[in-house]
Symmetry: none
Subunit: 150 residues, 4 copies
């Protein structure tokens, strides 16, 4: 009887877990942002750092001094593309180099410039990071540093 109760109690959270999903907290977003910012400062690169949740909504954004204002939207667009399509915006950038690859430009919310990375937890998408301000390859390096900070 005790064993049965034990098994039932053990199973409950897992049943519940089956209909739940992980998510990013503000503390997570700040840790990711700090890691990205540290890398940016170490390289002397000024950028916008945007962190989105799994629905593509801003959790935090930080614009370092002197960054072009266009990068505010670009960072968010890269991050949106990453979480909307569960893939790095570099995947689209590479695809756009292939024959007929300009078709990517006809997909709503897809951005074909490196610097947007999805963020996963246990294989489930929880959000994304978007960087803009330097070259797209450099933006990508900062984005990766951010994800590693998660």
């Amino acid at each position: 009887m005790k064993k049965l109760l034990f098994l039932v109690l053990m199973a409950l959270p897992f049943l519940s877990y089956a209909q739940t999903k992980p998510y990013l907290t503000l503390a997570d977003a700040e840790r990711i942002t700090a890691a990205a910012e540290a890398k940016a400062k170490a390289e002397g690169w000024n950028v916008v750092i945007a962190i989105l949740d799994d629905g593509g909504h801003l959790i935090s954004l930080k614009r370092m001094d002197g960054v072009q204002i266009g990068s505010i939207e670009v960072a968010q667009a890269k991050a949106k593309s990453a979480v909307y399509f569960k893939r790095s915006s570099k995947v689209f950038e590479d695809a756009m180099k292939t024959e007929g690859g300009s078709k990517i430009a006809t997909l709503p919310s897809a951005v074909g410039v490196e610097g947007g990375l999805p963020i996963f937890k246990d294989g489930i998408i929880v959000g994304s990071i978007g960087i803009s301000g330097v070259t797209s390859a450099q933006d990508g390096i900062i984005a990766e540093a951010g994800v590693k900070g998660y």
Copy 2:
């Protein structure tokens, strides 16, 4: 030792649960839609039924025959307002009747017409339903029938 293992195992799912949130599946959305549609048919009302997830993104939409095409956007807008602001769009409708209540019209994504209801699980928002096609009071009745079907 056994007891310690038991406690640790018991705690793990709850720790995990602390960083997870419930969500709507397509099966949930279809059950909610069926309940709303049954009520609409019983009343002889033709409507659009939109179900959104917790990020405000469509899980399903169904437009009954003969409904004005404007209701496609309206149903989605009501549902978006409900999940974005965690409250019935009727709350905004009522607020707009008070002195200076037209200020609601200046809030992005807020809709002040009945027919949008948030959907909660264990106190956590998981999505919303939006109805449009008949009078807003009737839309609200169908929306409620839908939520009860969850």
Copy 3:
């Protein structure tokens, strides 16, 4: 003479009847969706299925569990392109592979990625289907299965 007048008057409603167009009902959309969903499930592919009317407006949309949220917009965009231009979005995808084909990206509402198909009845366009979630070739297979279900 009287008889002739009688015949002419009798014919009028039929002439008037000639000024109608066929259209998709919700029942049609659901049958098309079911055929597409059956194919998707048989292949183990999770997708968004959007059905539009001849004005490019949603009749129904269904998002299977786990599909990237970007596919919600993409499925609708492919379907819109198909009904707006009365051709498969694959026609534009192929055109974009030719020299200067990126010009397609400058056409409002045109999408150059397979997965959007127009739906005809007796040579008249009545709507479209849009699929997104797997590869564009796979999306196209599901779209075709849907049209066959009409």
Copy 4:
């Protein structure tokens, strides 16, 4: 004569310096945000805190856990209204209570809900703060705490 020329040449840079405007740095924005967040935490209120520059562009945004996602847009809209019109969004809220005050809703970028405040330095506008998440009066209290932190 030589001495006069010398003095004129010396003065030029200062004349030129007079043609600058003060602006918010990221450090300023973070100090303002910290002051607002401290007040919000002290009251147990969860909000979105948006800081804009003098062009209405985001310098930083922070969303505390559990805040309705609609507040992300609303906080930015309030801040935009404050910097676009160099006045508190409460001024518009009050105006909307007067006869015909709903006209404010027809002004692009104007928001008539408390919680958006312009930020001035030496009488020159340098940016704004926008708060959303609790009641508009409470949002206003947090916004004021933020400005005081500047």
